[in-house]
Amino acid sequence: MAHMFFRARCWAPVLGALAAASTPAWSQSITDNLAIHGYLTQGYAIADSHQIVGIPKGGTFDYRRAAILLRFKGSPNDAFVVQLANRDLGDSPTNALTSEVQLDWAFYERRLGSKTTLRIGKEPIPMGIFNETRYVGTLLPFYRAPFGFYEEGSFTSETLNGIVLTRQITPASRWKLSGSVFGGEFDYLQSGTVQTSQDAPPTFIVTSANAKNVIGAQLWLQTPVTGLRVGLGGDRRDDYGEFFGNTPTTHGSKDWWASADGNFGRLTTRAEFRQLIFSQGGTRVWSYYGQVGYRILDALTVNLQRDVIDLNYRTQSGDLHIPYDRDNALGINYAFAPNIIAKFEVHNAKGFAVEEPVDVLGGAPLRSNYLITSLSVAF
């Protein structure tokens, strides 16, 4: 009971204390070699009909992400980084399979010469614009990184157990090219409605899974246009788990994505496209989004987002195209400081990305509206 009380109530004073502490003094290194940083986003979220990403009809204050990051620098070329994290997704059934506090990152970083960095351990995957900072509310235009591209709770992992090698390929050019390659494995959750045939009743499941033999890469090209960069990446992996209710089996998948990220003073624009192809069954997932943000006043920004997921199931009678999710969002952010930001956002969703049994193959898409209001701090 005490544990539940802590989960539900005790983050408000923590948030207040962190906001008060988000001063330069807190940004200091404890010593010149040890730095401690952290972030916290506390939200309230409510949906009007169907539960989406843990947001229930009754509303929830259990909408939060927080982390403490420690970076110890052994020398100019060596560092060790540890991050502990807490994430709550409201009433999401994925909460049952995640721990209250988790060891998010633990990696050793080695600089190899002036342009190359090697990370070994559990480190963030260099994927797209947001993956490495996807839970840092002060760096996101909305509460979460676009759901279709990055997912949350299930079918995603921010991190990888393995290695990441990053190199500045043409750092001095007007076209600055950098690239990362990564390899390893990660655990994740699978969730969704299981329907083995069009006649069977659907059920909603959440299961543990893992991805092995992950190999991937991410390229970024900084263009001569100030503030504009474009990216391209991809990976392949072998998935192990009860995928969509089958008995434990192995599935391979291939994934590629493209990104455009523009920051032009008051105007911010982003777009990303991703395609995931499963080797067994031929299922394809396309997700893409577009974001536009405009800073009306120094502290006030308006953001718009269109987020889409499409599925293509290969059935015996042919391919079945499913408009899995359409999420349109409008958000307003107020930055008390660059590291203290309040957000209010409304979403209109249509599709099957709900946490309840749905007839994905034959049913009509479900409509739901939800709102999230949140306060983010970082130090």
Binding site: P24, H37, R71, P76, V81, P124, V136, A337, P338, N339
Partner: protein, 156 residues
């Protein structure tokens, strides 16, 4: 170290302030044992973004910042880093929470910065122009366009 002034573009460490700290200038300082006497503005800016990590010879560069609200910090950000303190704060959040470098340590006063630089042979900092530097610290000449400054090795 060889030094060439291109077009007389010697910024002399410092630049006039404009908006928020109109009359404030800063002086870039290093430990007096440091053999470097001149650097390009861009190099100094990169040091404070942790994009240059070692002095020529391999010693670690130890930049020290001032707190955000200090006049010296505002002037340094504007005139040497060519950014606002707010924009730099966002930049550092990106770096920190990607698991990357942390920003330089901050000191509250010019005196604190002088103490730090005096105590660390690889240190570099800045103080308000006119501050008595005392012993063990020297001012750097910061040029805008000198092309042959080789005091530091690139470490981006």
């Amino acid at each position: 170290m060889r030094m060439r002034m291109v077009g007389g573009a010697l910024l002399a460490i410092v630049v006039m302030g404009a908006s928020r700290a109109p009359d404030v200038r800063v002086v870039v300082i290093v430990n007096s044992a440091n053999r470097t006497s001149t650097m390009r503005r861009e190099q100094v800016a990169k040091i404070f973004l942790r994009q240059l990590a070692t002095w020529e010879g391999g010693a670690e560069i130890l930049p020290v910042d001032q707190i955000e609200r200090s006049s010296a910090r505002i002037a340094f950000a504007r005139d040497v880093q060519l950014e606002t303190v707010k924009a730099l704060k966002v930049y550092w959040q990106q770096r920190i929470f990607s698991g990357d470098e942390s920003p330089p340590p901050e000191r509250v006063t010019d005196s604190d910065v002088l103490t730090y630089v005096r105590s660390n042979s690889g240190a570099i900092g800045y103080v308000l122009e006119g501050t008595d530097l005392g012993t063990g610290v020297k001012a750097l000449v910061v040029t805008e366009t000198a092309r042959d400054a080789t005091a530091v090795s690139t470490h981006s």
